[in-house]
């Protein structure tokens, strides 16, 4: 907590000095010479560097208005401050750098260190990263900044199936190999992992994000078994990027004080992600699909599924580029998201029928980007959520209008 305060004070103090003499403010030039992957997203952000200080600052904020109704019942008009995130990065030495990302969610209801790592580069193919890292499962987890997306809500599969933002203390390696028109990359980390809340939570379903509630997870591993997360990605300059990732470990406390409590129970997650731009129309396609497998005790509640799956596809189509309201590089996009999560792909032991517990949503969006770093977006969501028994779905509709911007 103390460190956090110190960081915040630092973050607060620097822009204050900057305000006195804005000339001192220097935008850190972004590395555009090389192909950027989803894994580079943490560093591939607009930073501001005050004067000659070796520290760069950045952040983003997102807020919105929402009117949502489920089966005719609405909570009325809502104004939501979803998150405020601050980044501080620093080049400690030539090939040693540090970056941290601190996020305040829903006002100050949640304060998280999403990322806080030191990276040491030995060669482009071999970097060591340690600290609080973002587990590279899927692409969204690492590339989650609000201003990059045309949608107010994060994808369901990224936040309610996979637990974005999912970061843990640990260390690992990453690297890249470049070709003329392509780059391949890998990442592999060992971190603290999940705990048994994934099968014991008030969602009453297997729910990986429940482990984020464990306040001790940055300090100790729940069961002493590291979680492995690995990813391989390939990017072609014209075609786009595909990634394949895996995360696996043990989630239960099988032993305490040397006494056996249960068998080791594992979880495995696989994900594929895809980002591509259709050159002719400049349509951007982003998608991710994940599969989850959790070892659940036989006699436990069937509400907790052994198998889950879900994902999303986003289509973003720029419909207008140019000067809009005096912003000379503005873009107007139309976008569509299809998303689906099935939290329980098991069958009922009693009837052999398929268990429900699934949600399908379609979100359409119009977004206006006066600059690349700011997005003002209008979303309309339709969602159908089936309960565990597969009863007729609860129908939700929502209109959201909000902005998200780097600062």
């Amino acid at each position: 907590m103390k460190q956090l305060l110190a960081l915040l004070l630092l973050a607060g103090a620097l822009p204050a000095t900057a305000q006195i003499d804005p000339v001192l403010l220097r935008r850190v030039p972004r590395d555009t010479s090389r192909l950027q992957l989803n894994m580079d997203a943490v560093y591939n952000r607009p930073f501001v560097q005050p004067g000659r200080l070796p520290v760069a600052l950045g952040g983003y904020v997102e807020a919105n208005y929402q009117y949502a109704a489920t089966d005719g019942v609405s909570e009325g008009h809502q104004f939501q401050m979803r998150r405020l995130t601050l980044f501080v990065s620093s080049s400690i030495a030539k090939r040693i750098r540090f970056l941290t990302e601190i996020e305040f969610e829903d006002g100050t209801k949640e304060i998280n260190i999403e990322f806080a790592s030191v990276d040491v580069e030995f060669s482009p193919l071999l970097n060591v990263r340690g600290g609080v890292v973002m587990n590279p499962i899927g692409a969204f987890n690492q590339n989650h900044d609000g201003p990059k997306w045309e949608f107010v809500d994060r994808p369901l599969s990224a936040t309610q199936l996979l637990p974005a933002t999912w970061s843990n203390v640990g260390a690992g390696l990453y690297g890249k190999k470049f070709g003329a028109t392509w780059v391949v990359a890998y990442e592999a980390y060992l971190t603290n992992g999940f705990d048994d809340q994934i099968i014991s939570n008030t969602q009453n379903r297997t729910y990986l994000p429940a482990s984020k509630l464990n306040p001790d997870r940055f300090e100790e591993s729940f069961n002493g078994v590291p979680l492995f997360t690995g990813k391989a990605a390939l990017r072609h300059r014209r075609v786009g990027e595909v990634g394949v990732s895996y995360m696996g470990g043990v989630y239960n406390k099988f032993e305490d004080d040397g006494l056996r409590l249960d068998r080791r129970r594992g979880l495995q997650v696989w994900a594929v992600d895809l980002t591509s731009t259709v050159p002719k129309t400049r349509t951007v396609l982003t998608g991710e699909w994940a599969w989850v497998r959790v070892n659940i005790p036989d006699a436990y509640s069937p509400q907790y599924g052994q198998r889950q799956a879900g994902g999303f596809v986003d289509l973003v189509q720029p419909v207008m580029r140019g000067t809009i309201f005096g912003f000379d590089r503005a873009v107007l996009n139309a976008a569509l998201r299809l998303e689906y999560v099935d939290w329980n792909r098991d069958r009922f032991a009693e009837t052999g029928g398929l268990i429900g517990d699934e949600t399908l949503a379609v979100v359409s969006a119009v977004s206006w980007r006066p600059t690349a770093q700011t997005v003002i977006r209008l979303n309309y969501r339709r969602q159908w959520a089936r309960d565990f028994l597969g009863n007729p779905p609860a129908r939700t509709a929502a209109v959201q209008l909000g902005f998200s911007t780097y600062f």
């Binding site: 089966d71 014991s200 580029r321 309960d387």
Partner: protein
């Protein structure tokens, strides 16, 4: 996609787009309508006070969203983790949430109380062993019933039920409803005019009418279905020991109030010709002798429930349903073949909470309304035979009537 640097055109297009959006958003079409009152079972009775509404909402949250976990006391042996997981949308349940009761074969009591009886908790937290059905134990399976209109049923005076009863079949119609005389727990509050016979009370909830009131039913459900100890039912189902309460009295009472204040199901298309003809047939062939169409409530602390006439289609009494429905297991003074007449209101909405199909009768064995009728034996046999001898069209109309409930 030609670059357009002219100011006014894009801004016009932009505001045009925004205008269309806002127009659509303000349009009713954009937001799914609330289902009609007759299409859902949940929702409060009309005429509640603001204070009662507040308690209804608290109870609703505890009933539907109050999911227990190992951290909040679930189990260690249990059947499900929330009321709502068995009573989805306050409707009937699914085989996956079916309870197994065992051990009692006659009115002398349960022989298996030391071995996990009367209810099987066949699920357990990781690291614990669930209960197994002891070999040779008589048992029966109970599918969750709907929870609607229970406050009205609660407010029907004992005298009205006794007036419907005919234990020795004095009128000779082959139907001899009788109450289940149960020993009620000490924490119940006797309703005005309650009848007591040799220290026993009239049960009215559950498949065999073994629960006196909604507090009895609720406290037992917390304890037996979820392994949640309360100050009412303070003995843990697994250890058999007194345990610290895991749910507050206030929450239990809010849930009880919620159940009481749930509205009665609203009939759909009551004036459709088939529905009207079907209802006449239903009464003519004697279904209404047990599925009593109309009951009148007495006094109630909830004004909206007092002195109301409702149409639940039950007499809340036990009937011998013949060997086909005799599982050899019983509760209270009910014989193994005796079942409490289930209310038929809300019947047509059952598939909306049973995963899209019907699971009827006490254990969900009947997969359609016709199937449920055809399994009536014992006291129900004569009316079942009369149903069989109706023409196909008349049978369809009768079923159409039941679906409208």
């Amino acid at each position: 996609m030609k670059f357009d640097s002219h100011m006014s055109k894009p801004s016009m297009r932009l505001s045009g787009l925004a205008a269309v959006w806002l127009l659509l958003a303000s349009c009713e079409l954009i937001f799914p309508q609330a289902p009609a009152d007759d299409a859902v079972l949940d929702g409060p009775v009309a005429g509640l006070t603001p204070e009662q509404h507040a308690q209804f909402l608290r109870g609703d949250v505890a009933f539907n969203d109050g999911v227990f976990t190992s951290r909040t006391g679930l189990g260690p042996v249990f059947v499900a983790a929330s009321c709502g997981s068995c009573h989805a949308g306050d409707g009937k349940g699914h085989p996956t949430t079916t309870l197994t009761r065992f051990g009692q074969v006659d009115s002398t009591g349960n022989l298996f109380l030391q071995r996990g009886g009367p209810q099987l908790q066949h699920r357990a937290l990781p690291g614990f062993q669930p209960e197994q059905l002891p070999a040779g134990a008589a048992h029966s399976r109970f599918t969750p019933p709907a929870n609607t209109g229970l406050g009205f049923l609660d407010a029907v005076p004992d005298a009205a039920l006794l007036a419907l009863a005919d234990p020795t079949d004095v009128d000779g119609d082959g139907i001899s409803g009788r109450p289940n005389w149960i020993s009620a727990p000490g924490y119940i509050t006797a309703r005005p005019g309650t009848r007591v016979q040799a220290g026993r009370y009239i049960g009215r909830y559950g498949k065999k009418a073994a629960a006196y009131d909604l507090l009895h039913q609720t406290a037992a459900a917390y304890n037996q279905d979820m392994g949640i100890v309360s100050s009412y039912e303070a003995v843990d189902a697994h250890s058999g020991q007194l345990a610290d309460p895991e749910v507050s009295n206030q929450t239990v009472l809010d849930v009880v109030a919620y159940l009481k204040m749930l509205k009665a199901p609203v009939q759909r298309e009551p004036n459709h010709p088939d529905v009207l003809t079907g209802e006449q047939a239903f009464l003519r062939i004697g279904c209404g002798k047990c599925h009593t169409p109309q009951l009148t409530t007495g006094a109630s602390p909830i004004a909206a429930l007092a002195h109301q006439t409702v149409r639940p289609y039950t007499d809340l009494l036990l009937h011998d349903m013949g060997p086909g429905l005799n599982d050899g297991y019983t509760e209270g003074t009910a014989a193994p073949a005796e079942w409490r007449t289930p209310a038929l209101w809300g019947l047509g909405l059952s598939p909306n909470s049973q995963g899209g199909t019907y699971f009827l009768l006490h254990d969900g064995r009947a997969r359609s309304i016709e199937d449920a009728i055809r399994q009536h034996g014992g006291e129900g046999q004569p009316s079942r035979e009369r149903f069989d001898s109706l023409s196909a069209e008349q049978q369809r109309q009768l079923v159409r009537f039941l679906q409208s409930l």
